[in-house]
């Protein structure tokens, strides 16, 4: 049911972990619907220099988390804000329709982390 790219990111997720003194942290989802994603950012000169994630969720949730960290690394904050859930799904060559509703929140978590970064640094 999953594409090869999803399975690749699921089996070898990139950037798993935490950043101890993160510049921004974002979390979306809740355990009720089965999906929690947390994203940690390190930002230098408006550029995302490091990013980590932790996810509780299905294969798609883990793969989208991993993919979004790949997509965002080295980007400016403005560029990062333009990444949508849809773009993440496309970068994974698509997700099964049933999985679009709750697994595909990685970009939301990223945007939350950026919001948190702005809060802390304004």
């Amino acid at each position: 049911m999953y594409t090869d790219k999803v399975m690749d990111h699921f089996t070898n997720p990139r950037n798993v972990g935490e950043i101890k003194q993160a510049d921004g942290v974002g979390e979306v989802g809740n355990a009720k619907c089965g999906d929690i994603m947390r994203i940690y950012l390190q930002v230098e000169n408006n550029i995302i220099t490091d990013v980590k994630f932790k996810t509780f969720g299905c294969g798609a949730a883990i793969a989208t988390s991993s993919m979004v960290t790949e997509m965002v690394k080295g980007k400016t904050i403005e560029e990062a804000l333009e990444i949508s859930n849809q773009a993440v799904a496309e970068a994974l060559d698509g997700l099964p329709p049933a999985k679009m509703h709750c697994s595909n929140l990685a970009a939301d978590a990223l945007h939350e982390a950026i919001r948190d970064y702005h809060e802390k640094h304004k």
């Binding site: 355990a31 089965g34 932790k54 996810t55 509780f56 969720g57 949730a61 999985k99 697994s103």
Partner: protein
């Protein structure tokens, strides 16, 4: 890679003897049992023989067995068939919160038609209480439907006692025995059962065939109109190969039952004790002893079931989970929630159901790979150690 199948509650492989027996009815003996000629007479005979074998497995009479297309159809026929035929007597049906969707959604359908449904709760082990059944009965109650064994956690219900109560109160008693038939001793007479659902593919017959037992004298309204098949209870040309197969599977199940139960219970108890001993933050779901011989269900806290399944699948192991993420629905298993599990813990459930062909080596292999997978997923979880 060798694949290990630990999902016998979802469906089972067809027993090789069953395949061999049904082959003749997929090739030479293809007649329609309603036909007058020799092609028809030979399949009519085969259907009759299969009916006798299925009846024998559960202590019924052949003319109390009606063949259907599976468990869902049998459940629909039992519930709607009794409800429609007894509308004048009353409109109240008692069932439990942990039934299969084939029962629950049929009850919802009947509720829309004006029937009143009581969904009994279960305890932390997934067990229905006989007292709760007694207290739910009203003078409008026409049917009690409680499953024999639960498909997710394997808990075996107090069927005989519920049946006794139902008989005293002159209320029809149906049990969805889809998970129990062929794997656990059932005698419809001793167990006081009026109607019983079975599905071939859950006991090593193929998909596409099931049966409903209805005690002689129990009147049902048929749901499918057409020819006079199955004594007017279920129209449509008989699925002869499927029926021959479920007959053979019933014969084999009866023959091998004691041996199978002993074997599977051994595997089950080893798996339970080892997992609980080696993987922390783990709980067993379902009753510790009153459970199906081959059925195990754990919750591994802080992780989600589908990602666990996918990791097991990559290691060649097929299992299932009550996580919402495996089903495309938004809520995890209604069974686990009814037992009082939180959403989070329900999401972390893993069901291992063993059956035909499973070996101790396979269990050992699972015991070998499971701890690392759980540990790895926990290390990725925002809930763990947080």
């Amino acid at each position: 890679m060798k694949r290990i199948y630990f999902d016998h509650s979802a469906t089972t492989p067809v027993h090789p003897e069953v395949v061999a027996t049904m082959m003749e009815y997929l090739t030479d003996k293809f007649g329609n049992p309603s036909s007058v000629h020799s092609f028809g007479r030979e399949t009519r005979k085969a259907v009759d023989e299969a009916r006798a074998k299925v009846a024998d497995l559960i202590g019924a009479e052949p003319n109390e067995i009606f063949f259907t297309s599976g468990g869902t159809e049998s459940d629909n026929l039992a519930l709607k068939g009794i409800a429609y035929a007894n509308r004048k007597k009353g409109n109240h049906i008692i069932t439990s919160a942990i039934e299969h969707h084939a029962i629950l959604h049929t009850c919802e359908y009947l509720a829309n038609q004006g029937f009143q449904i009581t969904y009994l709760p279960v305890d932390q082990y997934g067990m229905v209480s006989v007292d709760d059944v007694r207290n739910a009965i009203t003078d409008q109650t026409i049917l009690i439907s409680i499953m024999f064994a639960n498909n997710e956690v394997g808990t075996i219900q107090p069927i005989r006692e519920i049946g006794k109560l139902a008989r005293e109160k002159k209320i029809f008693f149906h049990t969805d025995a889809t998970q129990a038939v062929g794997h656990y001793p059932i005698n419809v007479k001793e167990d006081n059962i009026d109607l019983l659902t079975m599905a071939g593919h859950k006991f090593n017959a193929p998909k596409g065939v099931g049966a409903l037992y209805a005690r002689r004298g129990v009147r049902l309204e048929s749901l499918q109109q057409g020819g006079a098949h199955e004594r007017n209870m279920r129209a449509g040309t008989e699925n002869v190969p499927g029926i021959v197969a479920i007959g053979k599977a019933a014969e084999i199940a009866k023959r091998d039952m004691n041996e199978q139960i002993a074997h599977l219970q051994g595997l089950r108890d080893k798996l339970i004790s080892q997992v609980l001993a080696t993987i922390p933050h783990t709980q067993l779901n379902g009753h510790p002893t009153q459970r199906m011989p081959g059925s195990v269900n754990f919750s591994f806290h802080f992780i989600e079931g589908e990602s666990l399944l996918l990791n097991l699948d990559l290691k060649g192991i097929a299992a299932s989970s009550g996580s919402a993420c495996t089903s495309g629905s938004l809520d995890p298993s209604h069974v686990l929630l009814a037992m009082g599990l939180t959403h989070e813990v329900a999401h972390g459930s893993l069901r291992i159901t063993m059956g035909l062909g499973n070996t101790e080596e396979e269990v050992d292999y699972l015991l070998e790979v499971l701890p690392e997978i759980v540990a790895r997923l926990r290390s990725m979880s925002p809930l763990y150690g947080a």
